[in-house]
Every structure is written in structure tokens, then in C-alpha cells.
Amino acid sequence: MGLLEVKNLSLHINGKHILRDVTLDVWRGHIHALVGTNGAGKSTLASAIMGLEGYREVTGKIYFKGERIDDLSIDQRAQKGITFGWQEPARYEGISVNDFVGAGISNDENDKEAIIADALQQVGMKPDDYLTRAVDETLSGGERKKIELASIIAMNPPFIMLDEPDSGIDVATLERMADAIKLLKERGTTVLLITHSLAVMRQADHAFLMCDGQIIEKNTADKIIPYFEQNCIPCNHKNKPDIERAREAIE
């Protein structure tokens, strides 16, 4: 049984069919990549799993640890152990890095400070330079992205979805982010990386290939990546997906 199971999930937004009968299993302790070109439906699928506003009216079922979660609110899903890192994280006013990164740490935890400092270090940020700064527009896009990941590392839930964790991140920091993700795996965390970057895909064990709101193929990452590179990138939604052909090619 997968940690997360999505069964026949469909979603219409304003009459448009955006997720089409998505079924997938996410395996405990593994890193997964949700792969597809722009507009494939990757962020939408993650938003539906998290239960975000505008993405809740789905048909089909979502199970987490064997329990239905598709009727739950965002915070209830988070309390079950799911979280999500935005492609473009929100900016706040007056909320410090310390308070933001610490937001998801349980109140029973008595060493909050150490957890926050450790999470910042894992994404390559010196706690002393950032703790008292506000999570606002004075932070660069890349810094904001790293703080988002730090807040997730500090929360430490069993399942994490990261939407384009590499976007806006410079080359040197990419390695750090990759290390942080490796460390998550070592901790036993299950990760879903949403991406169209080959470098990020290579960190994954398994991959789901998405096109036009459908899952075209599920396989090991090393089988999906070359197919994506040779077929999806040049095609870029020009042709309708041909599931049979893709499956044959990948196998």
C-alpha cells in the first residue's frame, strides 16, 4: 500500500477538464518526481492533494496512510502529515523568518530554536543573518524559496510535495538543496518533486510522467527521464498524448 494513493482523480475548473482520471501511488520513504512540461497539470495535482482553495472540488479519492483525506481541510491534511512548498512562495509582512520557519513545529517540541537553526543551515542559510528578518519582499526570490524549504524541513512531516524546488535557485545553492532533499530521504521522509528540470528528476527514485492532465506513465526515474527528454520536451503539447506508445517506448 502506498503512503499516498490517488484514485481516479478528476478536476474541472470553469468547465475545463484539468485533471483527467489520475491514479497513482506514492511509496513510503522514496523520492518521486512528477514530471511534465508547462501546463501539464503538475501544480494542479499537488494543489488538489493538499486541498488548496479552488482545487478541492475533485471527483475520485485520495487516501493517506489508508485514510480518505479528500474531504479534509488544508490544516487537517497537514496535521495528518502532508505539506506543500509553493512554486512561488507567499511573502508576508512583519512575520520573521524565525516565526515562519517555526510555524509548523509542534508546540510540544521543547527545542524549537535548535530545529529552526538546523533547518536554515540545511538550506545553506546562516541563522544569525536571517532569523530576525521579515519574510517579505526584501528577501530575494531564491532566499524566499530556501526559507520555504526550511519551514518544511522544520515541520518534518512524513510526506512533502515541493513544486519546482530549483526555480530561482543558483547553481551553488542547487547542490545544497539537493543535499537537503537527500537528507530528507535519509530521515525516512517521502517526497514528491514537481519539476521539468532534468537535474531535479535525477534525484528521484520513481517518476510519474504527466501530460494534458493525465498520468502517461509511472516507472523508475531513470526510465522516464530519457523519454521525457527525447519526446516530451520537443513535443511540448503539440500532439495529444498517446499512452500506449509512451508505455512501449519507456519499457
Binding site: 482553495e53 481541510s73 509553493w86 511573502r91 508576508y92 512583519g94 509548523g104
Partner: protein
């Protein structure tokens, strides 16, 4: 302890100020209870004259040319009784090249029907700076009316910053009315952060005239309203000289049955002047809220954290 000393320690205590502050020779202070000056100390270059008026005190404050007052001047205006009026008339002149920070604590911890009226006139001469942080401590009963009015003249190269914050207790009624005129290369910053609940009413009227070339002005307001509270923010900023730049920034968050309105008026009378204006009214930002909820915070806790940040 004399009666005055007792009142002084009562008002400063309720405002949460450390009493040691008033023993120090290098920190100026002025403590007023109702119409009574219960403590006063000035530092070099700072002249404070007070005069009793009906239900209040008239203050003449003058900072001599070239003086920099190192430590923030501690002012405390308070009323311990449940009812009454306190009227403060403040005339301040900050002479050329003089610099001062004032921390004004206004405390009405037992108020059931207390009115605090402030009429201020401020002149900042060339290259002077004046920072005025006003912190309020009110009762939880909502029986306070705070009515501050100020006319401010900011001279060439001078810098005026004011910050109004309600730290504790209920608003009751707050009716702020500030009007500022700015000369060449001067700076104006007006900030108000208020949290209104129950039947509180907040009215903010802030006006800035950027009359001098290269003058700058920011009018910023942050108001959170819940229950049946109401808030109205009127901001008017005019730029009438080359390279005058201004920004009006108003955020009002509403919950429950609260009502908010914002009336921004921005005027530009010179082709080389520039003013921007930003207002957002209503619920908290949904992406901010959903991010915090995705970390496991309930909707209420996430909303509180966002509002606390906004009012910080």
C-alpha cells in the same frame, strides 16, 4: 511617597515602563496625569515648559540648534480614574540641525469614559529630525476616546517620522487627524497600526503636502478589524514639486462583521513628481493563509499570525 510620585509610578507602571528610566540623568522625561505634571526632567539643549489648562496641560518644547538628544525622551500621558477628559496642547520646535526621538506612552488602563485630546503643532527647522512613537495602553472596556490632531511643518532636509500603535486593550474610539507640509528634500513617514474589536471605531485622516523639490512622503496604515468594529482610513498625498515622491499604503483586514473603508486621494501637480498608491481591504491574503495552514496551523491561528505581523 508624595501624591505626585504615586501617580507617576501608577501611570508609568500601567504603561509598562521601567521606573529606573526616570532616575537617569541622561534620559529626559515628562509625565502627565490628567492636568497635572507629575514628573519632568530635561537634558541639555532641550527646553520643556508646561502650563496647566482646563482639564489638561499645555507643553512648549524646544530643542536648540545643533542638539542631538541621545536617548529617546520618555513621555507618559495618563488617566487612572475611570472617567474624565485629558487635553494636551503641544507646541514643539526642533531647531536647525537638532535631532530628537520621543516615545510617548498613553495609558488609560481603567477607562470607562475617558477622552484624551491632543492638539499638536510641530515645526522642524532645516535638517532637523523628529521621531515620535506613540504607544497606547487602554482598558479592555472600550471606554476610551483618543483624538489626536497635529499640524506639522517639515523644513528643508528635515525628517519627520511618526508611528502610532495600540499595544494593549481596546481601541474604543480613535480619531487621528494629521496634516504635514514638506519642504525641499525633506522626508515624511506616517505609520498607524491598530487592532480594533467589539464596537471599536477607528478613523484615520492623514494628509501630506510634498511641496518641496525631492521631498518624500509615505503614509502607511495597517488596521485589523473584527467583531462589529469599524475603520475608515482617509489618506491624502499631494506632490507639487519636481522629483517629489510619495506612496500611500493602506491594508485593512476584516473578520466577522467588521467594516472597513479606505479613501485614498493622491494628487500630482508637477510633471516630474510621482506618487503611488496601494490599498488592500478584506480578508487575509489567501496564499499566506494556505501556506501556514499547510504547515498545520488552524485557520484562526494562521490568521492571527498574519495579523500580528501586519501590526508589528
Amino acid at each position: 511617597m508624595s501624591a505626585d510620585q504615586r501617580l507617576a509610578s501608577e501611570i508609568t507602571g500601567s504603561a509598562g515602563i521601567e521606573s529606573d528610566m526616570f532616575k537617569r540623568k541622561d534620559i529626559a522625561h515628562l509625565l502627565i496625569h490628567h492636568d497635572n505634571v507629575v514628573g519632568m526632567h530635561a537634558v541639555d539643549g532641550l527646553e520643556i515648559k508646561t502650563k496647566k489648562i482646563k482639564d489638561g496641560v499645555k507643553i512648549d518644547l524646544r530643542l536648540k540648534e545643533g542638539t542631538t538628544v541621545k536617548n529617546p525622551v520618555q513621555m507618559c500621558f495618563g488617566m487612572m480614574p475611570k472617567k474624565g477628559l485629558q487635553h494636551i496642547v503641544l507646541n514643539a520646535v526642533i531647531e536647525k540641525d537638532a535631532h530628537i526621538n520621543i516615545l510617548a506612552h498613553c495609558t488609560f488602563p481603567n477607562a470607562i469614559d475617558v477622552k484624551h485630546v491632543m492638539d499638536a503643532e510641530l515645526t522642524l527647522e532645516e535638517n532637523a529630525s523628529y521621531k515620535y512613537y506613540e504607544r497606547h495602553v487602554h482598558s479592555d472596556k472600550g471606554g476610551v476616546q483618543v483624538i489626536p490632531k497635529a499640524k506639522i511643518h517639515v523644513g528643508k532636509h528635515a525628517r519627520y517620522i511618526t508611528d502610532f500603535e495600540l499595544l494593549k486593550g481596546r481601541v474604543g474610539l480613535i480619531d487621528i487627524d494629521y496634516e504635514t507640509t514638506c519642504e525641499e528634500k525633506s522626508t515624511l513617514e506616517m505609520n498607524a497600526r491598530i487592532n480594533a474589536t467589539h464596537e471599536d471605531k477607528v478613523k484615520i485622516r492623514e494628509i501630506g503636502h510634498l511641496n518641496g523639490a525631492h521631498s518624500r512622503g509615505v503614509l502607511l496604515s495597517r488596521v485589523a478589524v473584527r467583531d462589529q468594529a469599524e475603520a475608515e482610513v482617509y489618506s491624502e498625498l499631494t506632490a507639487s514639486a519636481p522629483y517629489a515622491r510619495g506612496h500611500v499604503d493602506c491594508k485593512e483586514i476584516v473578520q466577522d462583521d467588521g467594516i472597513v473603508s479606505a479613501i485614498p486621494i493622491v494628487k500630482v501637480n508637477h510633471p516630474k513628481a510621482h506618487i503611488t498608491h496601494e490599498a488592500s481591504l478584506g480578508s487575509v491574503d489567501s496564499k499566506q493563509l494556505q501556506t501556514l495552514m499547510a504547515r498545520g496551523l488552524s485557520e484562526d491561528d494562521a490568521t492571527d499570525l498574519i495579523i500580528q505581523g501586519l501590526l508589528k
